[in-house]
């Protein structure tokens, strides 16, 4: 202490008190308990900070996936019906090189999760926090390891008898097919640049234009025009603009095609609210069959109502293809009855 002169000591004290003034200044909010932090702090970083201990094998993952995930993703994570595919598009060479070759050659028909993602932690974190789609955060860490092991096997990164755990996940990371496929060399990170411990080049744009004002070019080159199908694909554009003012919406579906707002159908509302319409159209197949197809198949069966009620309640698979219908135990029996009657009457 004696080495410091008095003024310097005063400055030091003043700064210390300023910092303390900001910390806990308002007397508002309270300290989080360790249990509270543990309950919510579920993120897993690329260096596996935050990863819970645990393990799961490919076989268990296969079973869990079939039960909880296949209705949206298909049994092999290949389905493109509800979401883009999880697995596919990667090769042995990609696993060796850490670059998905299809992106380099441009010959990649469909981007899948495993063609894109560089970090296996991302997939672990996402399944744990957000899946399954209708029951997020219901999986235990061991379930997540198992499902991820199943993906890794589908992507031919690990063998069929593999068990994934917190102990070997870093080894698996070294085989991720697109692990070297990410770059942060761009000017679109709004923080410190890589040269100062941050990300990117410090905000330097990659595309440049100049503000020419007169005779900027000799001709106007049109690269693309609106395709005919796209003119009408978004409905009647005349009805998407005011009926007064300086312009009108262009009438795309023809004179007299003005459609009144449809009356709200309570049955349709019930079906939408409970997620039925995410997989079934009234007339068209989405993931499962359209209701018109259901009627066509069951209309002459006297026990159609009770059979369909059981299917809605308990789920089913095979009648309409390999993608299973999940059980809907959360629906009240009365609502199921209403919905089945409505579907069998043509969903009108």
């Amino acid at each position: 202490m004696s080495r410091f002169s008095k003024p310097i000591l005063l400055v030091a004290l003043c700064c210390a008190s300023a910092a303390a003034f900001a910390f806990d200044n308002y007397g508002i909010g309270r300290q989080a308990t360790p249990a509270e932090v543990k309950a919510w702090d579920i993120d897993v970083r690329a260096d596996f900070k935050g990863l819970p201990k645990g393990s799961g094998n490919v076989q268990k993952g296969n079973d869990l996936f079939e039960e909880k995930c296949a209705s949206c993703h298909g049994s092999f994570g290949e389905s493109n019906e509800v979401f883009t595919p999880l697995v596919g598009g990667t090769t042995k060479d990609d696993i060796k090189n850490g670059r998905v070759g299809g992106f380099v050659t441009g010959d990649i028909p469909q981007r899948t999760t495993f063609t894109k993602v560089a970090t296996i932690s991302t997939v672990w974190d996402y399944i744990y926090r957000a899946m399954p789609w209708t029951a997020p955060k219901s999986l235990k860490p061991d379930d997540v390891y198992a499902i991820l092991a199943y993906f890794l096997n589908l992507a031919e990164i690990v063998p069929e008898d593999f068990t994934l755990s917190d102990q070997n996940i870093a080894e698996v990371q070294k085989k991720m097919p697109n692990r070297n496929g990410m770059t942060t060399d761009h000017g679109m990170w709004p923080g410190a640049p890589a040269s100062k411990g941050g990300i990117g080049n410090g905000g330097k744009p990659d595309v440049k234009n100049v503000a020419c004002m007169k005779n900027c070019k000799s001709e106007v080159q049109i690269g693309s025009t609106l395709p005919d199908y796209a003119r009408t694909a978004h409905g009647e554009l005349a009805d998407q603009n005011r009926s007064f003012g300086p312009v009108r919406g262009t009438r795309t579906l023809g004179q007299g095609a003005v459609t009144a707002a449809p009356a709200v159908d309570p049955n349709m509302e019930l079906a939408t609210k409970n997620g039925c319409m995410a997989c079934h159209g009234v007339n068209n197949k989405i993931v499962g069959p359209g209701y018109a197809e259901v009627v066509a198949r069951y209309k002459d069966q006297p026990d159609a109502e009770s059979r369909l009620t059981a299917k809605v309640k308990n789920g089913g698979q095979g009648v309409w293809g390999s993608i299973p219908m999940p059980p809907n135990g959360h629906l009240a029996d009365e609502d199921i009855k209403t919905l089945v009657k409505w579907i069998l009457s043509g969903a009108k």
């Binding site: 806990d24 919510w40 560089a118 000017g187 679109m188 923080g191 503000a211 080159q221 049109i222």
Partner: protein, 448 residues
């Protein structure tokens, strides 16, 4: 234009413009008998009100409407006010085929009919990753913690009561989805500005600077250089935010939007506001902030919201929405009523600061004129521009080009694709072109 002429509500200058273009030419040629004949024929053929208009004047003036002759509604007939029943056309709409599940989809804001810079809260675009909920504010909590206990003196929990007692800021900012205009990277795909640019909105947000909360928890800025924001919904969406944006006071946790609480679809009761950064980082239903020493490579920065470049590499952590503009009126899917004067209007914005200038071209980018900017011009906010135009009835291509305070000039499609190709999905800020043909119909085209 002919069917537009018959629509009720069309305001027509009287009397010479009652005639069709062909008839006007006849008159100009001196065939006055034709004019008399055509007026009589029009009177006989048209419905009664129109005939009355032709004879004595406008029935909208001559016959007093019921709102001038009867008693109106009392106050608070609608305790929460709604738009006029005549405004039913401008709605949030989905783009068919874009997403297959409504819970992970987008509804686009009807920019084609909006004025100024503030988006009505009920028309704010929506993007949900796993559906939206009505979150009970009494049970909503915001937790602030750290990836390492050394980065924060005290992890804390705040209720909405707590947050709304702290000193707030109110600021106007745009929010744009990183995938806005993403359907158009390769070619023209959608017909109107609602679908090309409608993942864009602008509101006045009110809330507490995140800096205030982190300092209240005793953050160590030297060690914690990144922030993770996490939502309370099923997807519990997470994104990495740079601490620099927190330290400079820009980032705030917002509860207010346009004078009232946030709408449920927009994150009620609490969302993050990250000015100039793509919407996915404005985490809704915000439940947790974690400070850390590394970025997080979350699902929406490692599987989605990564920009594929022509060399096969994906750009990660692309966050800034670069300078962009679009003419909203007149625009694709609209039809001009007739020749003559129009006010051409649009919006410009930049994730790097204020808009400095907007130029408009009517000939596909050969010549440009500087538009009038409606001030005050605000940081990282929509900026409205207007410019007068006399349409001569000939084909035209309308474009707008914005310049921000850093001097960055919004690029053409040709310039953008030369660097980034056509498969990036995200961050398409190219100059938009609207083609006008003789009939007055306007369509979406891309000028290279």
């Amino acid at each position: 234009m002919s069917d537009l002429d018959k629509q009720p509500g069309r305001v027509r200058p009287a009397p010479e413009n009652f005639l069709t273009e062909e008839q006007i030419r006849e008159v100009a040629a001196g065939r006055r008998n034709f004019l008399r004949r055509s007026l009589m024929a029009a009177g006989a053929a048209m419905a009664a009100p129109l005939a009355a208009r032709a004879a004595d004047g406008d029935p909208a003036i001559l016959q007093l409407p019921e709102w001038s002759t009867t008693l109106g509604q009392p106050v608070a007939a609608r305790p929460y006010g709604m738009p006029s029943k005549y405004e039913s056309q401008l709605l949030r709409r989905e783009s068919p085929g874009l997403a297959r599940v409504g819970g992970a989809s987008v509804s686009f804001c009807p920019l084609q009919g909006l004025f100024g810079i503030i988006t009505p809260s009920g028309l704010h675009f929506e993007r949900h990753h796993q559906g939206w909920h009505e979150v009970d504010p009494a049970r909503h909590r915001l937790m602030v913690n750290a990836s390492d206990p050394a980065f924060l003196k005290k992890p804390k929990v705040y209720t909405m009561d707590d947050l709304m007692r702290l000193p707030p800021v109110s600021r106007i900012h745009f929010i744009e989805c990183g995938a806005n205009t993403g359907l158009e990277w390769g070619n023209v795909a959608v017909p109107t500005v609602q679908y090309t640019h409608g993942m864009l909105s602008c509101s006045e947000f009110t809330g507490v600077p995140l800096k205030t909360l982190l300092e209240d928890c005793g953050v160590d800025y030297k060690k914690a250089r990144y922030v993770l924001a996490e939502g309370a919904d099923g997807s519990s969406m997470t994104r990495t935010i740079p601490m620099e944006m927190v330290e400079n006071g820009e980032v705030f946790v917002a509860y207010g939007m346009n004078g009232e609480m946030l709408r449920p679809e927009n994150g009620y009761p609490l969302r993050l506001v990250v000015p100039g950064v793509q919407g996915v980082s404005w985490v809704k239903w915000l439940r947790r902030i974690e400070v850390g020493d590394k970025p997080y490579a979350t699902k929406d920065e490692a599987v989605h919201y990564i920009d594929l470049m022509p060399d096969g590499m994906h750009r990660q952590y692309t966050s800034i929405q670069e300078c962009k503009s679009v003419i909203t009126t007149p625009s694709g899917g609209q039809t001009l009523l007739n020749k003559g004067f129009y006010n051409v209007s649009g919006v410009a914005w930049s994730g790097r600061g204020r808009i400095k200038q907007v130029d408009v071209s009517f000939d596909g980018g050969i010549n440009w004129q500087t538009a009038r900017i409606e001030g005050p011009v605000q940081n990282k906010a929509l900026t409205r521009f207007n410019i007068g135009w006399k349409w001569d009835g000939k084909p035209a291509i309308l474009q707008s080009r914005a310049i921000d305070e850093t001097g960055y000039v919004q690029p053409t499609y040709g310039q953008l694709r030369k660097v980034r190709g056509t498969k990036s999905i995200y961050h398409n800020n190219a100059i938009q072109s609207w083609k006008v043909v003789e009939s007055g119909e306007i369509t979406n085209v891309q000028v290279l």
